[in-house]
Point group: C2
Chain length 116, copies 2
């Protein structure tokens, strides 16, 4: 396993290392969504969503379909969901300590709830 391949894989995981992108992918589990729908679901502004989508596109994680002025996004390979599910399993097994998560949740409760 050489350096180039590891760099390549690192770039792939980097795609998944932003909360908005994970949220987008989660919403796409149910099927394709338009930019506007995602914008509403994530409560983030248009430009932010569009730029995160651009990243997902550049990483070939999503496909697009245009209908009039509306662009629909969908995940290219549903196996990405399997990956996310394995990650979820790892959480459930407390690789990341329960404590740390609780602290973050408490922290978020104290601060006003923020959109993406």
């Amino acid at each position: 396993m050489n350096q180039v391949v590891h760099q390549f894989k690192a770039d792939f995981f980097k795609m998944l290392s932003h909360p908005a992108r994970l949220a987008i992918l989660d919403h796409l589990r149910a099927g394709e969504k338009s930019v506007n729908e995602l914008q509403v679901l994530l409560e983030a502004d248009q430009s932010t969503i569009s730029q995160q989508l651009a990243k997902l596109r550049s990483g070939n994680l999503v496909d697009t379909r245009k209908e009039g002025t509306t662009v629909y996004y969908s995940v290219r390979d549903p196996m990405i969901f399997q990956l996310m599910d394995v990650a979820k399993e790892i959480f459930n097994r407390r690789l990341i300590s329960h404590q740390a998560l609780l602290e973050q949740v408490a922290e978020a409760g104290r601060a006003s709830e923020q959109p993406i």
Copy 2:
């Protein structure tokens, strides 16, 4: 799935978004390794390895065991390998276009081979 959880998961994937950290984890598949062994395997300098290990520690991905002045690292939850294997599968299915990988490999061939 709220914002805090997505942030938490994003941080987790971020752990895997660096080539040196992925290389370290791959080497740990075979069992625990000392910092020095990893240093040799990755051809990176001591401080760099140590700081990447510090990240993996802070993310609770690895455990350490001290023996004299030597510190041995091992992965805490082997399920992380399952995650990496699913990622590999996704590559094999060409989620990431074969073309892009070839370009990067060619690029790396042109430039002199670099350590981590």
